[in-house]
Symmetry: C2
Subunit: 339 residues, 2 copies
Amino acid sequence: MITLKKLAKELKVSVSTVSKALRDSDEISLETIDKVKKLAKKLNYKPNKIALSLKSNRTLTIGVIIPDILNRFYSKVLDGIHDSADQYGYDVITITTKESILKEVDSLQILSSGTVDGVIIAMSEETINKNDFSHLKEFTMKETPIVMFDRVTDKINCDKVIIDDYDAIYNEVKSLKKLGRKKIAFITTINDLNVGKYRANGFRKASFDFFGKFDKNLILRISKNSDIQLVIKNFINKNKPDAIISADIVCGVISINIARSLEIEIPKELSVVGFGDKTISEYSSPKLTTIYQHGSEIGNRSVELLVDRMNAKWFGLNKNTNSYITEIIPTLTIGGNSK
Amino acid sequence: MITLKKLAKELKVSVSTVSKALRDSDEISLETIDKVKKLAKKLNYKPNKIALSLKSNRTLTIGVIIPDILNRFYSKVLDGIHDSADQYGYDVITITTKESILKEVDSLQILSSGTVDGVIIAMSEETINKNDFSHLKEFTMKETPIVMFDRVTDKINCDKVIIDDYDAIYNEVKSLKKLGRKKIAFITTINDLNVGKYRANGFRKASFDFFGKFDKNLILRISKNSDIQLVIKNFINKNKPDAIISADIVCGVISINIARSLEIEIPKELSVVGFGDKTISEYSSPKLTTIYQHGSEIGNRSVELLVDRMNAKWFGLNKNTNSYITEIIPTLTIGGNSK
DNA sequence: CTGTTAGCGCGTTCAG
DNA sequence: CTGAACGCGCTAACAG
């Protein structure tokens, strides 16, 4: 590794002269600057980030804690985080909890030993179920800023970024009704998550508002280990809905394909709407009507909020420490089969 | 931030006493050890990783450079990397190149300023197309070990982990023939990638070996911006294959759904095989016959190889510096529609 | 214009 | 048993 010391030795000057020369200090003669820079370039000198961090107490790295990197939504958010972080000059260190609260606690520990300047987190399923946020509470007591997204809780005071799950579904029911649909079903595999509940609530409320009643037979909750394809097939056969809203990212596509195999015409006899993105919608024919979650925007905004907090900390910019922002990223329904 | 210094001040002892006490040194009285540890626990003291790194010249962090985190294959590998890295006690910092050689060069720069102990990389598409590996060559000259996976090149000397793309397709043709298929088609959207070429070559060779000829009309190369669904539909109508092998992760599922919409019975009239994983195969009905890439295993092995090199560097273990390993992870075909 | 000194947080000498 | 001194690589305040 090339260090200032080595350059200094080679040039027979002091370390600080080299340091200053490389930063174009006007305390150093142009001649020396030139000499130093030439050698630095030749030996491909790179200032050691670790040493810089130790001095400045900033690592220019942010930590991201997510439940699962294989979940398409989270990988989209992560992608957005990467993009924005890159723009602001931050590196990203990611840890996945696999939905375990234990790993979440560990992750927070790891990140609180000075490796990152800030943290972005979506809580694990277990954390939500156990309703135990003590590790997060503890973390917010420290000086490292934290931003929560998607899986959030009122119990923790910090900036948050979420999508309007409730409204997304509510509005979907509304426009399906406008298209003349009369028997709208709701299929979910994520009812134990907050987001899943919000979406189900949106559906229930909309059913009341637009149809005057809510038929609970039209909600299909699928448990983790069941044969999704089979369950949906039976459900469609039994209930014959003319529209299906999927609360998650897979059931929409599956429903379309099942319906086709049952000789149901889409969108004539059945509209299918679900969360997803462009790639997901490609998987079915006709394409799924997709509620686009703006995963990358969520990532972008999370980084921006975090950067604001970090700047406030380092540069003492005017940022009210006691008031936190909860930002709601709207969903968008595009394309597909329901027109 | 709680430091040794603060603890020392609080307890009115010297910094080194605190340091030793925390590490159970027998130079320190049990009484003092107890006192120190109690306070450390109370204040939740965590040794500063940055300072440790500066001293030891090790960061216990590995850097990962991948073309795209939204690509399911790479996110699976990344997941495997996370798992193994975690086991070995390493953090993971990830950078995505978005298939740009420029970003790849940058990424390597970023990671070579002391932030990571080792690097795992899959090259960008642009790097491969331009055939320009100088930045990688340069990197291998430094002391930071590097492991390449999936997108690799002979030009660079380092450990590598790849899958047997050629054999995977070759064997697939073989078993489809065994099932009585006579007109096997090959659909690809990734012909400009090495892996795409290997797979196409496997198909070509197998066609010769098992059918005595190769009909190039049965290879469908789809360009980036075309309407995949439409192109495949026309292709099937025109060529009427009785089996389709998809070189990538999307065309298999799409083909099944298109075929169904054309009233083609699967698997009776048409078998469809493609790369993917369990989730992907759920997207079609009947399910896709899936060539499983073992993404996580690739990640696991990459980390293991890297850890070996890093250990060799730090602890001088017996590891031949001049001989590098190329590990081939076999594919596996599971389930689906072709029986 | 250049060099010396100090200090970021830590662990490891070496002296008391 | 305890503390002072040193060095990891770097910058900044202070001397010359």
